[in-house]
Symmetry: C2
DNA sequence: TTTTGTGCAAACGTTTTGCAATTAT
DNA sequence: ATAATTGCAAAACGTTTGCACAAAA
C-alpha cells in the first residue's frame, strides 16, 4: 500500500498538471489492493466526478505506467486489463473462475529478479508474476459458472 | 519445444476433430518460440490456407488453452494476447519497445510454484511469469519509437 | 449420415483518438 | 495568458458470435 502523494508527486515531477480527476485516480489506486481495471476506477470516480470520462482514466493510468509507478497485470481471464499500484516484485494470484486477483507478498521474488537481470542484460522495468487457478471458494462451490 | 502431435492428440482425446487447419495451428505453435498472437498465427497459416478465418485460430487456441496445453501470456505492451506452447514454469522476458518475448529457461521457478501452492490453497492451473524492460538492442539504438 | 468445424460478416467491449471547451499553472 | 487537460463522441482495435455451408468421423 502506497500513499497517493507519491503518485501525484511523480506526475508533477514529470511536468504533468495535478487535476482533481488525477488526484482522485491516484487516491483510489493507492487505497485499493483489488487490482482494478480502468472501468472499475471510472465507475468509482464517477460518484465524485459524474462527468469524468474514461479517456481521462486511461490517460492518467498510461502516464503512471510510463513513469513506472503502476504495473500492468494484464487480463485475469476476463479480457480486461488490471492495474496494480504495488510495484514491488511480488506474486499475484488470479482465480480463473471469479477473476479476483490477490497478492502473495510472503513469496520472495527479489532473488529471481536479480537472476533475470544478470542473465538477460535487459534494463528491467517491472514484472507480472501471475499464478492462476481456482481459489478455495470456487473449488468448493459447485461452480459450473 | 514440444511436438505438434502432443497438441493434436490432446485435441483428439478431448473429442475434437482433427482438421487440416488445426494441425497447421498445432504445428506452428509447437515449432516456434516466438510467443505468437492469434493474428501472427493467422497470417502464417494463410500462406498455406488462404481462406482460414481468424475465428478458427481463436477457436483452436481457446481449446488448447482450456486443455492446459498452451499458456496465455497476455499483452507484451502491444495490446495483443500472446500465447506460449511451452507450459513449463519458466520466466518470460518481454521488451517494452520492440514487444518481442523470449524465454529464460535457466531461471528455476519450481520452488516458487510450490511455495505459492502451499501458501494459497489454490488449485493452481498455470502461471505467467513475465518480466519486462528494454532488451539490449532497444537500449543501444536511440529508440524514440 | 450425423455431428462438428469452417469461413464469413456482423457484433461486441475495451481502448484510443480528435477536437472544442475548460482549467491548472 | 497560455499551454495542458478535460469530456464527449466517434473511431479503432482485438476478439467473439451467429449462421449457412463444408468436412471429419
Amino acid at each position: 500500500m502506497i500513499s497517493a502523494e507519491i503518485l501525484t508527486d511523480a506526475l508533477k515531477k514529470a511536468g504533468m498538471r495535478i487535476t482533481p480527476q488525477r488526484i482522485a485516480i491516484c487516491r483510489l489506486l493507492s487505497q485499493t489492493d483489488s487490482h482494478p481495471t480502468a472501468a472499475m476506477l471510472y465507475d468509482e470516480i464517477r460518484r465524485e466526478y459524474p462527468t469524468i470520462s474514461l479517456a481521462t482514466v486511461y490517460n492518467t493510468l498510461d502516464a503512471l505506467v510510463g513513469l513506472g509507478m503502476v504495473n500492468v497485470l494484464g487480463s485475469a481471464g476476463d479480457g480486461k486489463v488490471h492495474f496494480d499500484a504495488d510495484i514491488s516484485p511480488h506474486v499475484n494470484l488470479a482465480c480463473t473462475h471469479c477473476h479476483k486477483i490477490i497478492d502473495l507478498p510472503s513469496v520472495r521474488m527479489s532473488r529471481i529478479e536479480s537472476e533475470v537481470s544478470q542473465i538477460s542484460n535487459y534494463a528491467l522495468q517491472g514484472a507480472r508474476i501471475l499464478y492462476y487457478g481456482l481459489c478455495p471458494q470456487c473449488q468448493t462451490i459447485n461452480n459450473q459458472k
